[in-house]
């Protein structure tokens, strides 16, 4: 890096200054924005523009057929009085709060188990990763439903070990565990990221700790966790945001209803129902913005708190 900078600088000063350099700057700027054009169009046309539009719509009553009508904060007021909305927030909140940590703990545990030089590691890693590719698909949702229905496979396994579960799909108290199992089944993607992080922890640290007589528990808390904290941060952030967006599995397993008793009425499912089945686009936009604010606050919280628990090596403490 340092080398290239020097080269550029000497090259620059060899040519008569300012004018040539300014021309080169302008050429760089032009090239930069030319290469970035598709992304810029996408950013303004498909992200920033629609975001502003939905912010506007959130304050209107709009059904796609009559022009939008400004209603102030009515949508937001209605949201917090709408039992279905509150239910969907509760369902999604529970799913994110329980599913994400369980999934990440499983991912870290298996990554640590695999992080040695025994044979077959690559194979296990690939096999464990596979569910992450298909877990959110309609196909797996169909299979999950077939496995968790009354007198289904999971019920039979329960009976085999002396527990009478009954059907999970039709029991409002058991649908959440079923969805959490589905997300934990996809622990492979964060596991692969953890494994890559573990490989970067210098073995000398563990050797030094062993010399000092540290046991495995101390090594885990004093070396592994701090050294891995940037990766934990990354996984926690992405998996949390990802969890908010579950849709296909909930749609398929509940037949698009969010039932039984609203127990699978995930936020995105309710947003879809309001926006695209009832065509209450203003209301759905308000929902979307509540989600953005919640996710934004969570992200901010993660970044703010990271100062206290994320360690970047080579950084002064």
């Amino acid at each position: 890096m340092a080398l290239t900078t020097t080269v550029t600088r000497t090259g620059g000063s060899a040519v008569p200054p300012s004018a040539a350099r300014r021309r080169r700057r302008a050429a760089e700027t032009r090239a930069g924005y030319t290469f970035l054009t598709p992304w810029l169009i996408g950013f303004f046309g498909l992200t920033a523009g629609p975001m502003l539009a939905s912010l506007y719509l959130a304050f209107t009553d709009y059904n796609l057929f009559a022009p939008p009508e400004l209603v102030g904060f009515d949508n937001f007021r209605m949201l917090f009085e709408d039992p279905r909305f509150l239910q969907s927030a509760k369902v999604t909140g529970t799913y994110v709060l329980l599913g994400t940590p369980i999934k990440l703990v499983a991912a870290l545990a298996v990554a640590m188990l695999l992080n040695n030089s025994r044979r077959g590691q690559g194979l296990y890693r690939s096999v464990f990763y596979a569910p992450s590719l298909i877990g959110a698909s309609v196909s797996i949702a169909i299979v999950w439903k077939a496995m968790f229905i009354d007198r289904g496979v999971v019920d039979r396994i329960g009976q085999g070990i002396g527990i009478d579960w009954g059907g999970w799909v039709g029991d409002p108290g058991k649908t959440m565990p079923m969805f959490i199992l589905l997300t934990v089944w996809q622990f492979g993607a964060p596991m692969v990221i953890f494994l890559a992080g573990l490989k970067q922890v210098p073995t000398e640290l563990y050797e030094a700790a062993a010399v000092d007589g540290a046991g495995p528990v101390r090594k885990f808390f004093r070396i592994t966790l701090p050294m891995l904290s940037p990766v934990i941060f990354f996984n926690l952030l992405l998996e949390t945001i990802h969890s908010f967006q579950i849709f296909a599995s909930a749609f398929i397993i509940s037949d698009g209803t969010g039932g039984p008793a609203g127990s699978t009425l995930f936020y995105t499912l309710y947003l879809y129902m309001r926006g695209f089945q009832d065509f209450r686009m203003g209301y759905a936009s308000a929902m979307a913005w509540v989600l953005v604010v919640v996710v934004g606050l969570l992200t901010l919280l993660f970044f703010r708190s990271s100062r206290f628990w994320v360690h970047y090596s080579g950084e002064a403490k």
Binding site: L36, S126, A146, M287
Partner: protein
């Protein structure tokens, strides 16, 4: 490897102590034997445990695959994987199609959408990534930060206005709303993946080409693109699989059955067949996953490597 480290560690510890000299020949041989036995026991324990995890992970997938060959009466509540009288009847039902539209139409639609996604994403993401990683221009840092921010943005906040606009342009019930974003690098994941990859390519290459008088277009097409092959392969596979599995987009935008991709067809199929016909449903679910599994088997190393590089330097 870990055993070596352990031995080195202990040896270092021993030497640090004053007094006792090097262990005798006998002692070191005994030590070596002990470590070997311990490592073998550890190995057995390791594989037993990992195989148990593997069994749990694979069971739903295998149960799905094998159930496709069982009659429906044998599927529900049948823990055993082996079909007692294997048959292809379920597949025949699944291949019959839905409401006069052939199963292969859905496969073709899914393929079209996936191919379009791959082309769009590879083109747009690589070009944008080059700007972010290799061109120094005012405002780059701001745009990059915004790009990362869209990575974290719940997409729900943009779908309603997007739908309204596509609807007023008469583009609902076409593939345009599903593909346009791919050609405009709207999925930041891919841009980010390629930027990360490009940053690891030696800068000296560009500088040399620069001195030889090559412009950015030349450097991008002649130097970067060929070197980017691994990142392009990884992106293509993810783009393909995600498009193949996508349910929300098609559910929103496609109304006529002859345009449906497989996930929507599957949902309609589940709706139409009597709820008890799990055999045909599962057979169709299996067929829908075949390309994903093939891609996974062929390219799993690229996929795993692509995911692994994500988390580092994030």
């Amino acid at each position: 490897m870990s055993i070596d480290h352990a031995v080195v560690g202990t040896a270092g510890g021993l030497q640090a102590e004053p007094g006792p000299g090097l262990p005798s020949h006998e002692q070191s041989r005994a030590l070596r034997r002990r470590t070997r036995t311990r490592s073998r026991a550890g190995s057995v324990l390791f594989h037993t445990f990992v195989l148990a995890v593997t069994a749990v992970i694979l069971y739903p997938a295998l149960w799905m695959l094998m159930s496709a060959f069982k009659p429906t009466s044998e599927i529900v509540g049948n823990v055993s994987l082996w079909p007692e009288s294997p048959s292809f009847a379920n597949f025949a039902t699944a291949l019959d199609g839905i409401g006069g539209v052939s199963f292969w139409t859905f496969v073709w639609n899914s393929t079209l959408l996936a191919a379009g996604s791959v082309i769009g994403i590879v083109l747009s993401a690589s070009v944008s990534a080059y700007a972010f990683a290799r061109i120094d221009f005012p405002g780059r840092k701001v745009w990059f930060a915004l790009m990362i921010a869209t990575l974290l943005l719940p997409f729900h906040v943009v779908i309603i206005p997007q739908y309204i606009v596509f609807n007023s342009l008469g583009l609902v019930n076409t593939y345009v709303p599903l593909l346009l974003g791919k050609f405009l690098a709207a999925e930041a994941f891919f841009v980010f993946l390629m930027v990360q990859f490009m940053r690891n390519l030696p800068r000296e290459l560009d500088e040399a080409a620069r001195i030889d008088g090559a412009g950015h277009l030349r450097i991008f097409t002649a130097i970067m693109l060929p070197l980017m092959k691994p990142a392009i392969v990884t992106s293509s596979i993810f783009a393909f699989i995600w498009s193949w599995n996508d349910f929300f987009g098609p559910l929103l935008y496609l109304k006529s059955p002859d345009l449906y991709p497989l996930p929507i067809a599957l949902r309609i199929f589940v709706d139409q067949t009597s709820t008890s016909d799990y055999g045909a449903q599962i057979a169709m679910a299996v067929l829908a996953l075949v390309p994903v599994l093939l891609f996974f088997l062929v390219f799993q190393r690229y996929l795993v490597a692509g995911v692994a590089t994500q988390g580092l330097k994030g």
